[in-house]
């Protein structure tokens, strides 16, 4: 019922009484930072004309705006001297661990999504969304295959006068490693552990699509709905997002530099090998 705070010597994050992440103190600034999951219901059509396209493997086409998955979240808090974590349960098919390691300057979100329910016969496309106080003016940045950041502007194209038929999907871009937004003070970056679709549909907010389960083919490919299953149930997906947040003015090294180091570490992690040493005492092993 009361606010929960976890953190380390670099940053602290707080969760409100409903269990949602609500604020962050990091890199010299205290600010609003909220994260939740939403999903889009998939459009369903006969794929005859353009306006009747279904959402499918080749197409992201939501039917209406997002649906929120929970009004309140169950929490379990774990604190120790190596890592502090908050285990969140949003509903039966969405949970997440938000963790801060003692010596890291970012927040790690380990999301777990699935078995996405389809009893209502509707496909669903699940998104993790972060809201901040940055006045980003419709501008956000997505990476180009893990290298340069490309400037994106909501409802805009640089090379023609855009009339958007799809106000949501038309603003989605490929995110291979990072999506970011900023204003003159704040910068928010979310790094991914795999390629995802992402966007910023309102100032200060970024979103990444983490999982989807569709029930109807979009007639562009192999005539099969994107409804991946394992053991007869909808596939469960697990992955990580890494959030770097702070003031652009006081952060040293710059936030972008921190993001680049973190990206290297995330996408080229150490390889872990295990060996049985039951037969040896430590001294022998040493």
């Amino acid at each position: 019922s009361e606010e929960v705070t976890i953190g380390n010597k670099y940053l602290n994050i707080s969760f409100d009484s409903n269990g949602f992440l609500s604020s962050i103190v990091a890199n010299g600034i205290s600010s609003r930072l909220r994260q939740t999951f939403v999903y889009y219901e998939a459009a369903l059509g006969d794929n005859k004309e353009f306006t009747n396209r279904s959402s499918g493997a080749y197409i992201f086409r939501p039917n209406g705006t997002e649906k929120f998955v929970a009004e309140s979240v169950q929490l379990r808090v774990v604190k120790g001297n190596v890592v502090q974590e908050v285990h969140q349960v949003f509903n039966e098919w969405i949970s997440q661990v938000v963790r801060v390691y003692a010596d890291e300057n970012h927040v790690e979100f380990e999301w777990l999504v699935g078995d996405i329910p389809i009893e209502d016969g509707i496909g669903k496309e699940v998104v993790s969304r972060c809201y901040s106080a940055a006045q980003s003016n419709g501008v956000f940045y997505t990476d180009s295959n893990g290298r340069e950041m490309i400037k994106r502007t909501r409802n805009h194209r640089d090379t023609w006068d855009l009339h958007l038929e799809e106000s949501i999907a038309g603003n989605y871009y490929p995110v291979t490693a990072k999506i970011a937004l900023e204003d003159e003070n704040l910068r928010l970056a979310v790094l991914t552990d795999r390629a995802q679709g992402g966007s910023s549909l309102e100032d200060g907010a970024v979103e990444l699509m983490v999982h989807r389960r569709l029930l109807h083919d979009d007639a562009f490919g192999v005539e099969e709905a994107l409804d991946e299953r394992a053991f007869g149930k909808g596939l469960v997906a697990r992955g990580k997002h890494y959030v770097v947040f702070g003031s652009k003015k006081t952060s040293n090294p710059t936030l972008q530099a921190k993001e680049r180091f973190l990206q290297n570490q995330v996408l080229l992690p150490t390889w872990i090998f295990l060996s049985d040493t039951s037969k040896f005492k430590y001294e022998d092993w040493q």
């Binding site: 670099y10 493997a57 080749y58 379990r76 774990v78 604190k79 120790g80 001297n81 190596v82 890592v83 974590e85 285990h87 349960v89 949970s95 661990v97 390691y101 003692a102 010596d103 890291e104 300057n105 777990l112 562009f220 490919g221 192999v222 099969e224 994107l226 991946e228 299953r229 394992a230 053991f231 149930k233 469960v236 697990r238 992955g239 290297n264 570490q265 080229l268 992690p269 150490t270 390889w271 872990i272 090998f273 295990l274 060996s275 049985d276 040493t277 039951s278 040896f280 430590y282 022998d284 092993w285 040493q286």
Partner: protein
């Protein structure tokens, strides 16, 4: 060579836009997974062979020294990989009371990594090659992960520790041993992570 070629061929197939985006039929997606898994396993075995080739001479030298002192021990290690660490499952760390964790840093500058391994005990000691104890913490595995219907693991906690000063393009090993205190040490303590003494040294500064 031959092991790596299996992975090269698999990755050659994975250049297809279907493999990159998931627009293929389900049974083709399953076949891509099968090919990649088989290739990574082959390389895993290959890594183990490579590791043993690297580590063996070192071991042989120390073995020779031990031999000199009359200690007869076989010091060859098998290096296993756990592909299901992302759902907190690892046969070796869950079933062995003593095991070695070897990390390879693929970057050209020294690095560090927080290691998380599912375990069955409630208290472990982690030491590096110098005999220095590395602070570790027991963290509960979230219920939603424990209840994944194809996880097939009894571990309900993970041991977490910071492996730092990993040499560029190099290896570093840690010796992890379970501390058996009392018979029912695990059931009695609902949250072993509180066992970690707060006075243990904090990790070093910003890398």
């Amino acid at each position: 060579g031959p092991h790596l070629n299996v992975l090269r061929e698999a990755m050659g197939v994975m250049q297809h836009h279907d493999a990159v985006t998931g627009t293929e039929k389900q049974h083709v997606a399953n076949d891509y997974s099968r090919m990649l898994h088989r290739a990574i396993e082959a390389c895993g075995a290959n890594t183990q062979i490579v590791l043993n080739q690297i580590v063996d001479p070192v071991q042989k030298k120390s073995y020779a020294k031990k031999q000199h002192h009359g200690v007869k021990r076989d010091f060859t290690f098998e290096f296993d990989t756990c592909h299901l660490l992302n759902i907190s499952k690892c046969e070796m760390s869950e079933t062995k009371d003593n095991f070695m964790v070897t990390l390879y840093n693929p970057l050209a500058h020294s690095g560090y990594q927080y290691v998380r391994l599912p375990v069955s005990g409630s208290k472990y000691v982690v030491k590096d090659y110098r005999g220095i104890e590395t602070p570790s913490q027991m963290v509960p595995i979230p219920d939603s992960v424990q209840s994944l219907n194809y996880r097939f693991s009894n571990a309900s906690y993970e041991i977490v520790f910071l492996a730092n000063e990993l040499p560029p393009l190099g290896f570093k090993s840690y010796y992890v041993s379970r501390v058996i205190e009392s018979v029912d040490d695990f059931s009695k303590d609902s949250n072993p992570s509180v066992r970690v003494q707060a006075d243990q040294p904090q990790p070093t500064g910003w890398h």
